[in-house]
Amino acid sequence: MQWQDPGTGLNSIAKAAPTARQKCNPDVVIFLTTKRLPDTPWRVVECTPMLEIHDLACLRGDRLLFRRLGLSVQAGELWRIAGANGVGKTSLLRLLCGLATPDEGEVRWQRKTIQQERESFHAALLYLGHASALNDLLTPLENLHFACAAAGDAVDTAACSAALTRIGLGQQLDLPTKVLSQGQRRRVGLARMLLATQRLLWILDEPFTALDVAAAAELAQVIAQHAKAGGMVIFTSHQDADFGMPVRTLDVGKFGGAFSA
């Protein structure tokens, strides 16, 4: 288990700072925040996690889904959110994105809460939810192009159709999305990932659902590539996939509510 004790998360970082000063080279490590101390000639590098979750609690109606949930994610890490149905995996992902407000605790992106840093956080975030975010009357190409443009990515139609062709939807570019199968719809999301590699944090809700073996392998490869390039991926999944790299696991069930009034 990699999750930190939420109460002491920041303290342990502060304590770790002296060692970091000796070991890290500020010019090499990209994803670390650097700070100049007032009385010292050198810069102190604090090995800060990019995304920190502190003491998070989530209520759904009358049920307490989880509480005191803590997690810190650093660049290059791959996290799988595990837990049985209904423990609040999707709720957790929505909290991480800032779509929902936590009942307690907070989510921090580069040391600031995601509410304070909304714009820069959302610029660095790709979230693919349970719903496909596709409109049935538009073609996959139109859907993908709109998704990129609405998110604020400058991606032209050619790049969109190239991405769709690469993941095997080259024949369906100009068909309405309603004729696509579930797996094909999911592939549009895969294409969106290919076009969002510059976004550091990917949060994916059940990305493997409805994908066939080949597409699932391709997805695993895309995810692993993103993490190896310094990105972060947090996902939920019921299937096992081979990423060719270590996957850390957070079991939401362990933070389950002790009561449900």
Partner: protein
């Protein structure tokens, strides 16, 4: 104009075009409701001329109301709204685009068809112009106010009737000045005051309603 605004506006207009059959239904509703009144109140030309502007306005109000749930519900169900909320742009930008697209696809056709109905009610050509002008200024206000209600009632059971209860009282001032402008013009008082007030109302609604709708959408999605 921002990228997200253009993207949302273009997409929503494209979608409106692809589902134009639905829009025609709302437009036919407008025409049918407005043509029902003579059967209820009789066909006395003077009376019809007197109630004409009001009838057209009430029908426009109801037709707008009928089309309002469509503004967000499809995107709510399909997850597009979630994606839009995660956009870098502040929500008010794309909410404005959605309201604009909604008015262009449902409000503007009402304005275009209204002279036809006014003719059926025996309004003079100049009165018809006044009515169309008032609708042109007034229907965007209806869409703007309606957007708040549509965002608040998103995904609720009985959203349609709840929406009507919420927004119709708020739309009364628009109805008063919209229908009143024709009377004012006909009685020689002049249009200026009415149109200025409606224009002011439009600016106020433009300045406030998108923010209120954006806040309402955030609350609904939370």
């Amino acid at each position: 104009m921002s990228k997200a605004f253009i993207a949302v506006l273009r997409r929503d207009l494209l979608l409106a075009w692809r589902s134009r059959a639905d829009l025609l239904v709302a437009l036919s509703f407008f025409v049918v409701v407005a043509s029902l009144f003579p059967f209820g109140v009789g066909s006395d030309p003077d009376q019809l001329r007197a109630i004409g502007p009001g009838v057209v306005w009430v029908a426009a109000l109801l037709a707008t109301l009928l089309a309002l749930p469509r503004m967000f519900s499809q995107d709510f169900d399909s997850g597009v709204l979630e994606q839009l909320l995660l956009s870098q742009e502040p929500p008010v930008v794309w909410v404005s685009a959605k309201i604009a697209a909604h008015w262009l696809s449902t409000g503007l056709p009402l304005v275009v068809v209204s002279p036809l109905l006014a003719l059926m009610y025996g309004l003079k050509p100049s009165a018809i112009e006044v009515l169309a002008l008032a609708l042109l200024i007034g229907t965007p206000i209806l869409s703007l106010i309606g957007a708040i209600g549509a965002a608040l009632t998103l995904g609720l059971r009985g959203a349609g009737s709840l929406l009507a209860l919420l927004v119709l009282p708020l739309m009364v001032p628009v109805l008063i000045f919209g229908a009143g402008s024709v009377d004012a013009w006909a009685s020689g008082i002049g249009l200026r005051a009415h149109l200025l007030l409606m224009g002011g109302g439009l600016f106020a609604a433009l300045a406030l309603a998108p923010f209120a709708s954006a806040a309402a959408l955030r609350i609904t999605m939370d």
